[in-house]
Structure formats: C-alpha cells, structure tokens
C-alpha cells in the first residue's frame, strides 16, 4: 500500500469516536500543562502512564501524542503573555512575543503563534507520514552495531551538542545511564547495583524518575527562589491578524517549518535549537530589522512554527527507529513499552493500524488545537492566574498520585524524594534534565544492541566500526561533540545562551 492509502486507513481509525475523545482529552490536557509554568508534556505523560495501564493502547498513545502537540501550543501562550516560557522550546517566542503583548499586540502574537503552529504541525505530520516508510526501509538494513552507533549519536546530541556545557550535559547523561543499570540484567539475570534491596530488582521506574526530576525538583527550585510576582499582559484588542501581519507571517511559518522538521527528524535532540535557528534566520531576512527586539511578528511566527515542526519531527526517529531524542519522546517510548510495543521498523509491520491511526490522529489533534487555542485563548489565560502555592501544591499531590498509582509503596515515594532532590541539584547548578531521562530509557537498549553486536562477532570490538553507516554516525557524533566546544573556544558559544538571556 502506498502512503496515501495507509494514511487514509489511519484516518478512518483516528476518526472513531473513542479515539477522537482521547485526542481531545490529550490536546486539552497538553495545552493546559503547556500554559502552566512548571509542568510540561513529559511530566504529564509520565503521570498518566500508570493511569492508562488498562486502557486501549491506540487510544492512550493518541492521547500522549495529543499532549505532546498541545504542550507546544500552550507554551507559546505563556511566553507571550507572561514572559516566562512554559516549556524550553518557547524561550525564543518570549523574546518578540512578550514585547508585542506589552505594546497591546498580544492578540496577533497569539494568533500568529497558533496559526503558525497549525501550519507547521500539518506540514510536519504529513512529512512524518511520507518519511517514515522510507526510514523503516533504512532501519531494516541496520545491524546491532549500527543501532548502537545511532544511540551513541542520540546520547551525544541530547546531552552535549546544544547545551552551554558539554561537561554538564554528559554528566547528566551518565547519571541517567547509571540509573538505567540498576536492576536485573535481562540477558543473564544478574542483579546489578541493587545493593541487596529487592525493591530495586525491577529497575528504576521511568515514571518515578521523570515525575521526581520534573515535578518535585522544579517545585523545590521555585520554592527556594525569592518570589517574584509575574505580570500577565492582558490580551487587548482583536486576536485576528491584519493583512500586514499575514503578509509578514506566512513566509516565516514556512521557513520555520523547513528548519524545525529536519532538526527534529534527525536525531539532533530537542526542539530548542530549531527555534533559535529560525529566530536568527528571520532576523537576518526581515524587511523590518528595526522592530526586532521590540515586537517583530516574524520573530514569533518563525520560531513557533519551528518548535511544532521539530516536535513532529521527533516522532520520526521515535517511531521508525525506537530512538527518543527528547524527554517527552523518551517517556512516550516508555508508554509504548508499557503496552508491550517496541517502536522501530517492526512496529510498522506488526502494528500498522496503530501506527497509522496515531499519525493520522496527529492531523486531527492539530486541527483541534487550532480551535482550542484561537477562539478559546482567554480560557487558558485564566490558568496563568492560579496562585503559585495552590499550583505547586496541586502539582506535588498529582505527582505523588502518579507514583503511588504505579507502585503503592513507601519505598517508591522515598525514591521520588531522593530523585526530587537530585532534580533540584541539577537545576541549582545548571545541569540539563532531559539527558537523565533519555539515559535511563535508552541506556539499557543501547547496552542490549552493543552486546548483541559483540555476541555476533564473538567479542571482537572492531565489529562496531565495520559498517559504513556506523562510521558515518560516529563521525557525526564526534562533530556534534567537538564543534560546539570549538565554537565555544572561539567565543561564539555564547550566541545561543545570550539569545535566551538578553531579555530583561
């Protein structure tokens, strides 16, 4: 069957009432958590894993994907109106978007973000549908050694390439990999790093780690900081864009999509980098350079499109290779595993209906999000007015609910607290969080591929660099590791961090 037929078939699945309902729940939840500062899609999906344990896999995964897409929409609302990005991929949106809101142009800023997200989501999801079968063919030709190289590349890009310190990123990754070792070794039954504690034999729950790092760690960090009252910019005037706004936005949307999707689709890690690149592209190409820094609409339209396009792009390596390149994708991988599904080329063969329903439902979810975020934006703005004490008390209550639901034992809550303190420490000293989560989930898979490769070669390590694919992947990984270090040495590494920091 060609892609169109598969997609049409998937659309029939996605339009079933039950799947539509779950998509709606997903996008609504996703928008809400995207809007709320302090919680994001990764945490929400992690919290829902234990709840959805007994649900239908297709419906649950559609809901998770809806949360992922929704989070990307919701984050922009917070950036524009509050100047506090709801999630990291919206940092750039705050640069121009908040300036627009202060000038009373919050409406058009929200509109160009929402429509741009829609355009990008639509194009990128169709891109996902067309690239996936091709990627599956490529993935089937890969051996264990190639997979291992691919995972090494993902490790490097997630942790080192685009953070401001490779040392800190790799340290976060190493912590995640260490936590991934805990428990019984699947191939030999050997218990590792359990320190004689039977509770650790099953390994460390992804839910517990993610919830602890994202919710508990964040709550501790926010509580520890001196409280600053955030100023919510009211949405004045029309949310509709005028002719000039449209004229200035549509090219930025397309350019943002063209930048964001490939970055997400290649295992290059994170949606942030696409937004930064799109921002600097728009800044270079604009006919109104004087407006940049004072509320240029292109500076909202481009990065928001890039943000959503790379979110959709991230699903390409996740679905076709089983390779998560962001924290949310890593948790979604755990969601697949919960239902006994392993993303990768075989998923497309064995669970074709599920995969194509999921992809088609993203198109539906995207349309729902446009409706939810344009006419109903006022509703979401009210979420921003929730006072911090109630917000974080609620987040902590639900965070522990998810952990207790997965495993109702005081030991699990003890781990939640311990990892929560770890999460606080990571934030306190500027270590990234995502590599820890990706390390925990991808680490054991990488080890499995490594051992499989070495078992085939009877222990000869040179098998790892025998195939041209593996060699190319290692070269890219080395570049991703060394190039930023080189740029940093030449004083250019500051560009990225400055972009985020130069706002008042």
């Amino acid at each position: 069957m060609d892609t169109f037929a598969l997609l049409a078939h998937g659309l029939a699945g996605a339009l079933q009432p039950i799947n539509l309902l779950y998509a709606l729940i997903g996008v609504t939840l996703g928008t809400a958590v995207g809007v709320l500062p302090g919680i994001g899609p990764a945490l929400t999906v992690a919290l829902l894993l234990p709840v959805t344990y007994q649900f239908d896999p297709t419906a649950s995964l559609i809901m998770f994907a809806g949360i992922y897409y929704g989070g990307m929409y919701g984050g922009s609302t917070t950036s524009i109106l509050l100047n506090t990005p709801g999630e990291s991929a919206s940092i750039v949106t705050a640069l121009e978007g908040n300036k627009m809101a202060r000038k009373g142009r919050g409406g058009p800023a929200l509109a160009t973000a929402a429509i741009g997200s829609f355009v990008a989501g639509l194009i990128a999801t169709i891109g996902l549908a067309f690239i996936s079968p091709w990627m599956v063919k490529f993935a089937l030709s890969l051996g264990p050694a190639d997979y291992f190289a691919l995972m090494v590349l993902a490790f490097v890009t997630v942790s080192a390439a685009f953070g401001d310190s490779a040392l800190r990123g790799l340290t976060a990754l190493a912590i995640g990999l260490t936590l991934g070792l805990v428990g019984i070794d699947l191939q030999t039954g050997q218990a590792r790093l359990t320190f004689g504690m039977p509770d650790l034999l099953d390994g460390i729950e992804v839910t517990t780690l993610a919830v602890a790092l994202f919710a508990v760690g964040e709550a501790l960090k926010v509580a520890a900081q001196p409280m600053a009252e955030d100023k919510i910019e009211p949405v004045k005037g029309s949310v509709w864009m005028n002719a000039q706004d449209w004229a200035r936005s549509w090219k930025a949307w397309l350019r943002g999509t063209a930048i964001g999707f490939p970055i997400g689709a290649m295992p290059a890690g994170g949606a942030e980098i696409g937004t930064f690149l799109s921002y600097s592209t728009e800044k270079a190409l604009t006919k109104h350079p004087e407006e940049f820094g004072h509320g240029a609409i292109e500076g909202v339209a481009g990065p928001e499109a890039a943000n959503n396009a790379s979110a959709a792009g991230t699903l390409v390596p996740l679905l076709t290779l089983g390779l998560p390149t962001s924290a949310t994708a890593a948790i979604m991988l755990a969601g697949f595993q919960q239902f006994g599904l392993q993303p990768g080329p075989l998923l497309f063969a064995n669970n074709a209906t599920l995969v194509w329903s999921l992809i088609a439902s993203l198109l539906v979810a995207n349309l729902m999000l446009l409706v939810l975020n344009l006419p109903l934006v006022g509703l979401w703005v009210r979420l921003l007015a929730i006072p911090k004490p109630w917000l974080y008390a609620g987040i902590l209550a639900f965070a522990t609910l998810g952990t207790i639901g997965a495993n109702p034992s005081p030991f699990e809550l003890g781990m939640l607290l311990a990892f929560g303190l770890l999460g606080y420490g990571l934030r306190r000293y500027d270590y990234p969080i995502a590599p820890v989560v990706v390390g925990l989930i991808l680490g054991p898979l990488a080890e499995q591929q490594l051992r499989r490769a070495l078992a085939i070669s009877q222990g000869d390590p040179s098998v790892l660099v025998h195939s041209p694919v593996a060699i190319i992947l290692y070269l890219i990984a080395a570049t991703a590791l060394l190039l930023p270090a080189y740029l940093r040495l030449r004083g250019k590494g500051k560009v990225l961090s400055q972009l985020a920091a130069e706002e008042d």
Partner: protein, 160 residues
C-alpha cells in the same frame, strides 16, 4: 539564573564537590561490579561490561569537574532559601510515612498543606483539611472510577 561571576580565590566549591561525588559513584559502581559472581561467559561481553565502561566514564567526568573547578574559580550563585525546601521535603516524608497507616487522602492532604506553606500560603489548620478534602475527591475519582490502587485508610473506608 544569574550569569556566574568569576572571582579570585580558590576553586569552585560546588564543581569540586560534584566532581568528588561523581568519583565516589564511579568507585561504587566499579566495586559493586567486581563483587558480581559472574559465571563463565560465551562472549567476553557480559553483564559487567557496561558497568565498567560507565564507571570509567564517570571517573573521566569527575576529573573534568575538578579541572573545571580550578579553571573557572569561585562562581557566585544566588543563595537559595532553605525553609521552603524543608517544608516540601517534610511534606513528602510525612506522606511517605503516613501513606500505609493513614491512607492516601490524609497523607496527600498533609503534603498539599506543607507545599502550600512552602510557597507562603497558610494557615495549616485551614490548608490541611482543604488538602485532605481535595485528596479524598482525587481518591474517589482515581481509585473508585479508574481502579488505580491507592492505599485506603480510615477516612476512605468510612466512605467506601
């Protein structure tokens, strides 16, 4: 977070401590892996390979931290307030200890009140009952409707 300001006078203590902790972690993994009773293997690669590699990786990172600590010097960081953190940690500990004996609602209600207190919202005699009430509603939805196994205590058995 404010941009770190480099000052003269010794290494960055935080980076040094983190470096030492990473070194300890590397040593613990190495020692634990050494202690594994490994039976004869077909391949030379067994369950101990990855821990050894990771132990080495952590050791390199530890050295990297120590070097960075001396290269960058003392970094100024904003002081964090300890009291609110203690309220949150205390709430989590209380919930952990009381979950089994008193059930989900009371334990989580206490956590809720402690967390609100951490962000300066009180008084506890008001927020504790509020938290317990909300948690009971959550319990009814998730344990009652969604069949999630949340421990029941005296309060839950009173209703259910």
């Amino acid at each position: 977070m404010s941009a770190p300001v480099v000052k003269a006078g010794g290494p960055d203590r935080a980076a040094l401590v983190i470096g030492v902790l990473l070194g300890v972690l590397a040593a613990v993994i190495f020692w634990q892996t050494r202690a594994m009773p490994v039976t004869a293997q077909y391949a030379r690669v067994g369950p101990t390979t990855a821990p050894y590699v990771l132990s080495g990786f952590l050791a390199v990172l530890a050295v990297g931290h120590v070097m960075a600590a001396f290269r960058h010097g003392v970094q100024e960081r904003e002081a964090d307030k300890v009291a609110p953190m203690l309220w949150i940690v205390g709430g989590l500990v209380a919930q952990m200890l009381l979950l089994k004996p008193l059930g989900f609602s009371i334990a989580t209600g206490l956590l809720f009140a402690c967390a609100a207190k951490a962000f300066g919202r009180g008084p506890l005699w008001l927020t504790v009952p509020l938290g317990i009430g909300l948690s009971l509603v959550v319990w009814l939805i998730f344990a009652g409707l969604l069949k999630l196994s949340l421990p029941a205590g005296p309060l839950e058995s009173l209703i259910f």
